[in-house]
């Protein structure tokens, strides 16, 4: 018996001369919360589109719930609940009307549909007053919750969440993580695409890191961090980050990698240094930074994150990729 809800075998997708997804294979076990990580343009969206039947692969095979998506697309679509990255709702209708519409698309009607809508409104914690207003009047967080509810109407076994917390403030982000955890605890198989490594680390029990159309790492977040054999990160907030500063730090013995990053919570640019033993090299790092006439605003020692893993594997920062895109 196949215990995997999603099976991807040697999938390739070409757009003329560009290979968006290059011979990718992976599987997601039933009840797993699987994270698909990577920068924009890594091939995550193309892979997701193929998984939900929006586009066909150039070669390879995808099975969801044991059904080949190309042979039984409707069957697969009934098993899948897809939460798109953007808020895809009709802003001239209220939450209940939106859910009724999407429910009908999945064949629900009458009392069954009404009950399911009420269940989901409760689950997503939308109060009755808000439910009666048009979506256009909702906050970002409320819209996100309705966006998720619309994908859950038919009680799908496999849920694809595409960047579900993009653009949300920390409070709403935590609320949404809670919803995802509840779904996972309820036995749903969840595939989460994200470029937020902290999100993947927090939620997923299995992750795949994609870059340039390929999966470059696959395993649990802990396994991936262990794999790079690095333990610590020194995060410095200097008054300015110059290429000379980065080069100077790189020359320090014991530094595996140094790169520019952006702290979304503090909204500051940081210099990250990955090393085996942070305490040992910290004095050298401080003197090196001061030697290039740069002030240090703060220094912090922490363990290696998935983001650091991505940088060690690809040689590039995730945020740099995004900025270039």
């Amino acid at each position: 018996m196949n215990l995997n809800d999603v099976e991807v075998n040697s999938i390739t997708k070409r757009f003329e001369d560009t290979v968006a997804v290059d011979n990718v294979s992976m599987s997601v076990a039933r009840g797993e919360l699987f994270g698909l990580l990577g920068p924009n343009g890594a091939g995550k969206s193309t892979l997701t589109k193929m998984l939900c039947g929006m586009i066909n692969p150039t070669s390879g095979k995808i099975e969801v719930g044991g059904f080949n998506i190309q042979d039984k697309p409707m069957k697969v679509k009934e098993l899948l609940g897809v939460v798109p990255q953007d808020i895809v709702l009709y802003d001239y209708m209220n939450a209940r009307e939106n859910l009724a519409f999407f429910g009908r698309l999945y064949g629900l009607s009458g009392g069954k549909l009404r009950n399911r809508i009420e269940e989901l409104l409760k689950f997503t914690q939308l109060d009755e007053k808000a439910v009666r207003r048009h979506i256009s009047t909702y906050s970002g967080g409320m819209k996100r919750r309705v966006n998720i509810a619309a994908a859950l109407l038919h009680d799908p076994q496999v849920i694809l969440l595409d960047e579900p917390t993009a653009g949300l403030d920390p409070k709403n982000k935590l609320a949404l993580w809670e919803i995802i955890r509840t779904l996972h605890n309820g036995g749903k198989t969840i595939m989460l695409t994200t470029h937020m490594m902290d999100e993947a680390e927090e939620l997923c029990n299995q992750v795949a890191i994609m870059d340039k159309g390929k999966i470059i790492a696959l395993g649990s977040p802990r396994q991936l961090i262990k794999k790079v054999k690095m333990e610590n990160t020194i995060t410095v907030v200097p008054d300015k980050i110059t290429p000379k500063l980065i080069e100077t730090v790189k020359k320090i013995s014991g530094v595996k990698k140094s790169y520019r990053a952006y702290d979304e919570n503090e909204k500051v640019e940081t210099l990250k240094i990955i090393t085996k033993k942070a305490e040992d090299i910290l004095p050298d790092v401080v003197s090196a930074i001061l030697s290039v006439e740069t002030k240090i605003l703060s220094v912090e020692l922490s363990r290696v994150t998935l983001e650091d893993v991505f940088i060690l594997l690809t040689g590039r920062s995730l945020r740099e990729e995004e900025r270039q895109v």
Binding site: C52, L80, D86, Y90, F102, A150
Partner: protein
């Protein structure tokens, strides 16, 4: 079970699409009220002109009927019917200006001058032999009437083709009724039965220098022709406009992609969109017709099945064309721009506001080729002339063929657009 589910899906898509218009003030204005706004403006400007209400038509008469002419070798100076013609024009409520110095050729020139200044819309030159010809006074040596034509000249303002056509139509309708009435009187006064029969054969001796004829069983005003014609505009403004943004808008918002990832076939989505477009066309049509009745008291014939059927066939073309635009456009803004580019010029070529006959020949050929023009013609024939559905069959066949062609191209474009998701 599967069919029931598909029907539910189709109507859910149609309802959602329809709500998108109903709850959007701008969309309501441009889809439903803008055509009505146009009808009201043009209706109040030209609408009450025509054979039914003539007081706004200023007619100049140059009555030469009193000039002495030779009739059967004898000088005759009789202006009875010419004078009656002028009086009848006044009685028919035309605003009449008389340029009637008998024999003064400058009168015609003065009337022409007044046309050029916009003082009068049309001048009617009554010929010198008007009374003699209409009363069969020209006879052969045996005393039998001989056919004698009399030429009634109409002069109109070439710089105002629309106003001229309205005035011309009105005068032509008047002339035909006048001849019928007066010749009936003259013929009935002929004592000899054989002579009377002969006179009937000779009747209608007037030649008018224009060739249009009054075609309706009822006296019609301009607005009576215009209201059925506006159904063609409804197709362009409501049908084409809505169909062209229906899919582009959903694609821009991402809701189209969300529909496609649900277990819904592309054909179901299309069917839902088609139904909502059709509903909007019919609703807009009802608003236009109801406004025509309420605001202008239009006098029309109501063959409802023929009207509904013809609008459906016309809508096939409009929605097909809209689908092509919607599928090719990258986003809703592009779809809107293309639609404006297509629909704004087209509205002048379908004969709804302006008769195609006033246009240059290439424009007439182009206009006649449009399925929307066929709908305008069909609606005018059914609703103003009370022609049966069979009588408009050539137009109906044309609309069916063009509708099927455009709709199928639209479906192909729609299927191709799915690959761009």
């Amino acid at each position: 079970m599967k069919l029931k589910r598909t029907i539910h899906q189709v109507f859910a898509i149609a309802k959602t699409d329809f709500l998108g218009i109903a709850r959007n003030k701008t969309a309501i204005f441009f889809t439903l009220l803008f055509p009505l706004f146009f009808l009201i403006i043009i209706g109040f400007t030209f609408g009450t002109q025509g054979t039914g209400e003539t007081s706004r038509i200023r007619v100049g008469t140059v009555n030469r009927d009193g000039i002495t002419i030779n009739v059967n070798g004898t000088a005759s100076q009789n202006s009875t019917i010419g004078d009656a013609f002028v009086q009848a024009l006044k009685d028919a409520n035309f605003t009449v200006y008389e340029y009637d110095e008998y024999g003064d050729k400058d009168s015609e020139g003065t009337a022409a001058y007044d046309i050029s200044r916009g003082e009068i819309k049309v001048s009617v030159v009554i010929p010198a032999n008007f009374t003699e010809a209409l009363s069969f006074q020209f006879t052969d040596s045996l005393g039998m009437p001989i056919p004698t034509k009399t030429l009634l000249d109409l002069y109109t303002d070439p710089s105002d083709p629309t106003g001229s056509i309205i005035a011309q139509q009105s005068i032509l309708g008047f002339v035909s009724r006048f001849i019928e009435y007066y010749q009936g009187i003259v013929i009935s006064q002929i004592p000899d039965a054989q002579m009377r029969d002969y006179a009937i054969v000779l009747a209608d001796p007037i030649t008018v220098s224009t060739s249009e004829a009054d075609v309706s069983e009822r006296p019609l005003r301009w607005i009576d022709y215009m209201v059925p014609g506006t159904l063609g505009l409804v197709l362009l403004w409501s049908g084409l406009n809505h169909a062209s943004v229906a899919i582009a808008d959903e694609r821009t918002k991402g809701t189209f992609q969300r529909m496609i990832i649900a277990p819904v076939s592309p054909a179901t989505v299309l069917a839902g969109k088609f139904i909502s477009c059709l509903a909007i066309v019919y609703l807009s049509g009802v608003i236009m017709l109801a406004s025509g009745i309420l605001l202008f008291q239009v006098n029309l014939y109501w063959n409802i099945p023929a009207i509904v059927m013809s609008i459906f066939l016309g809508a096939l073309s409009a929605i097909g064309l809209g689908l092509i635009i919607s599928s090719l456009a990258r986003n809703v803004e592009a779809a809107n721009s293309i639609t404006v580019l297509v629909s704004v010029p087209l509205q002048f070529f379908i004969g709804a506001f302006f008769p195609l006959s006033i246009m240059p020949e290439p424009a007439q050929v182009f206009g006649e080729a449009l399925p929307f023009t066929k709908l305008v013609n069909t609606m005018q024939n059914i609703m103003t002339k009370n022609l049966p559905f069979e009588a408009v069959m050539p137009e109906v066949i044309y609309m069916t063929i063009s509708g099927l062609i455009l709709f199928n191209i639209g479906v192909i474009a729609y299927r191709l657009s799915l690959k761009r998701l």
